[in-house]
């Protein structure tokens, strides 16, 4: 009997095929228009959940077996990524998330002009991803990023697998823990920064850099000398190396080459994202402080490289937006509020989604800490994973990052947290069925929360062909120099980035249904500038979800506010419809010829 014909391997393989087939059948006929504020989970059929449950069962059977097959575990992880992270690409016609359209605009600008203009947008100071993509688009003769951006989450997450495995291999030799950790990573990565974005690429760079550092440049301060606990101060105890630590030392010439790889990777990070360099610096700094790396000079070099870039290439942005950069410095309360409490508002369903996100994140961090403590008691894990998990928190006092700092911190703690969670799940379970049972229960719990947390904004994030047709009509009809006004949550700026001016409708104007206020914004471009008001389905959904409550106090934005404002604009006689389809309206001042 060949290895694959054994029941322990055949059963998961059959279950895997069954899950994929059932998933494919489930996605037929999903009506996205019926989606509630709970997001994608509100329109997925029961058979889709059954397919994912079968996948979890199959993984649990594989991971729980006496000698788990690594290729089979890897196949499960790849299947999970394609099914779950690719679901929106499978059921939606266009790339989701309005920011992707703006990123398409950056790339189109570089491909068309061969340059960047940091005065136009902050991201032109960190153009790395857009520059590479512009090359790909030009050489492949695509019509732009939007041709393939829908599949970015699948590609990015598949790319994360190798550094994750490499990192976890540095912590333990137990293949079961390694692959359960990787599996968990993809069950809790709800933040959704893996869309076609610099952050998606930079998480890969960050994971790669940390994995290389931990694998080949680890320092083992107390290998031969391990005095008793009483004799050591707490810091020395923390610095002690675990018994299960994998020790890998590269050849000296290879080490030099790997240092070059680390530096090249960091330069790539610095050129393509404003935030990730800081996460990399604090993480490497923590490894240096706790004497966990043989490269104590590395954080200093990283700081110098980043400062040089900011003071030279990103200087125009820095000069133009000092309050954005320094305004939230050391404002711990404000930064925490911007990232957590200020966000908890909107419709009941949306607040439910937010609660699930907060609960899932808190659970992951708490369980990871428990996992480390449990593993630490048996000296089966080093301090390094907990260092990697704690270090990103150091950035919270420094920046609110537009209220997203907590999300980013969660993202950068995901890898070590997943590993420690896997340690906790497998701690103490020696029997196959027990291991499999706990793995299945944990997988189903995390997957359920993940689906709500990750796709909870889908009603806003998905873009319909009608919406996009409307926005394309806008660019086809509006002459360059025109002022385009909307709420901001619209799929625009994907072409001719520098040729148009943009105005964003503020909350007060929407709340008061202030037609005169809209007129003021649309005249702000000057008397000779043509202006256009853009209304889309996703913009309306955003107002309803983020601001809407059934009993809206007067004067505040509420459910249907944007609809009512547009109706009032039209009935006022001061605006007229220039274009309309099922998901988009374009209004212009009535005086426009």
């Amino acid at each position: 009997m060949t290895a694959w014909m054994r029941p322990a391997r055949l059963a998961p393989a059959v279950l895997l095929v069954l899950a994929v087939a059932l998933w494919a059948l489930s996605l037929r006929g999903i009506d996205l228009a019926k989606m509630s504020d709970l997001g994608l989970v509100s329109v997925l059929p029961a058979s889709a959940y059954l397919a994912l449950a079968i996948l979890c069962l199959s993984f649990a059977v594989t991971a729980g077996s006496k000698s788990p097959s690594v290729p089979l575990l890897a196949l499960h992880v790849a299947t999970l990524i394609v099914l779950v992270y690719g679901v929106t690409a499978m059921i939606e016609h266009l790339p989701r998330f309005n920011v992707v359209y703006r990123i398409a605009g950056y790339t189109e600008y570089i491909a068309r002009t061969g340059s960047v203009d940091p005065r136009l947008d902050a991201y032109f100071s960190w153009p790395g991803l857009f520059a590479v993509t512009a090359m790909v688009d030009t050489m492949a003769r695509t019509s732009g990023v939007l041709d393939y951006a829908a599949w970015a989450p699948v590609v990015f997450n598949l790319l994360y697998v190798a550094p994750l495995v490499m990192l976890f291999e540095s912590f333990t030799r137990d293949a079961r823990v390694i692959w359960l950790g990787v599996w968990i990573f993809f069950l809790i990565n709800w933040v959704g920064q893996d869309y076609f974005s610099p952050q998606g690429l930079n998480l890969l760079f960050y994971l790669g850099l940390v994995a290389i550092l931990v694998r080949w440049f680890m320092r083992y301060p107390a290998l031969s000398l391990r005095p008793s606990r009483r004799q050591q101060p707490w810091l020395s105890r923390l610095r002690r190396v675990a018994a299960d630590q994998v020790r890998a030392m590269a050849h000296s010439r290879s080490q030099l080459a790997l240092v070059v790889v680390i530096l090249v990777t960091f330069v790539g990070i610095v050129m393509s994202h404003p935030l990730t360099p800081f996460f990399a610096i604090v993480t490497v700094g923590a490894l240096v402080v706790f004497r966990r790396t043989t490269l104590p000079w590395l954080p200093f070099v990283m700081v110098i490289v980043n400062v040089v870039w900011i003071l030279t290439m990103a200087q125009p942005f820095l000069a133009g937006h000092p309050s954005m950069v320094f305004g939230t410095l050391f404002n711990v309360g404000g930064n925490v509020g911007a990232g957590v409490t200020d966000r908890v508002q909107g419709s009941f369903d949306h607040r439910t989604v937010l609660f699930v996100r907060i609960a899932l994140s808190a659970f992951v961090w708490a369980a990871a800490l428990a996992g480390w403590l449990v593993a630490r008691r048996s000296s089966r894990v080093d301090i390094t994973p907990i260092l990697l998990m704690v270090a990103p928190f150091l950035l919270i006092p420094l920046q609110a990052y537009g209220g997203e700092m907590f999300l980013r911190v969660f993202l950068f703690t995901l890898a070590p947290a997943s590993f420690l969670l896997a340690r906790l799940i497998l701690a103490g379970s020696q029997v196959s069925w027990s291991r499999g049972g706990i793995t299945l229960a944990a997988s189903l719990l995390l997957l359920g929360a993940f689906l709500v947390a990750r796709f909870g904004n889908e009603r806003i994030d998905y873009i319909t062909p009608s919406e996009f047709a409307g926005v394309r009509h806008l660019y086809d009809s509006a002459p360059p120099g025109s002022l385009l006004v909307a709420t901001g949550y619209v799929p625009w700026q994907f072409r001719d980035f520098e040729k148009y001016r943009y105005g964003v409708l503020d909350e007060t104007t929407i709340a008061r249904l202030d037609v005169a206020g809209v007129q003021r914004i649309m005249r702000s471009g000057g008397p000779r500038v043509q202006s256009y008001f853009l209304y889309t389905r996703s913009a309306n959904a955003e107002i309803d979800m983020f601001q809407g409550t059934p009993r809206q106090p007067p004067g505040l934005v509420g459910t249907g506010s944007l609809d009512r404002l547009v109706a009032k604009m039209l009935s006022s006689g001061k605006f007229k419809l220039q274009f309309q389809n099922s998901d988009c309206k374009i209004l212009v001042p009535a005086s426009t010829s």
Binding site: A131, M139, A140, V155, L204, G208, G268
Partner: protein
Amino acid sequence: MTPRLPGAVPIAATSAVAGIVGVLAPLNPTLRAGFLVAFVATGPGFGLTGLIEVRGIAARWTVAIVTSLAIALIISTILVMARVWWPPLVYGLLMAATLGGALAQAVVIWSGRRGAEGMNQQGPP
């Protein structure tokens, strides 16, 4: 330095083929972009890091992928910032890194085998 990455040469070569298909093949543009992305994400990395002593599949792919993407990104960014942006130049440099690196590895492997065969032919002293 003995190459520890025997698979790197065929992977780099396959990646280079993907890069050529991505530019020249009469395919759907999205498919061409897919081939080009595969080339950019792996080719230069496997070309340049093949001689580094790296053990383990995950480690090999990690080093190659981050190197590949970082190099592509750095070259592209420098050309854009310096206002000498020319996509064929970026593509050519990445292809040169891939093929040049693979060729260098092949030479090192070949000369290493020749050396080993010579040692075997000498027999025990």
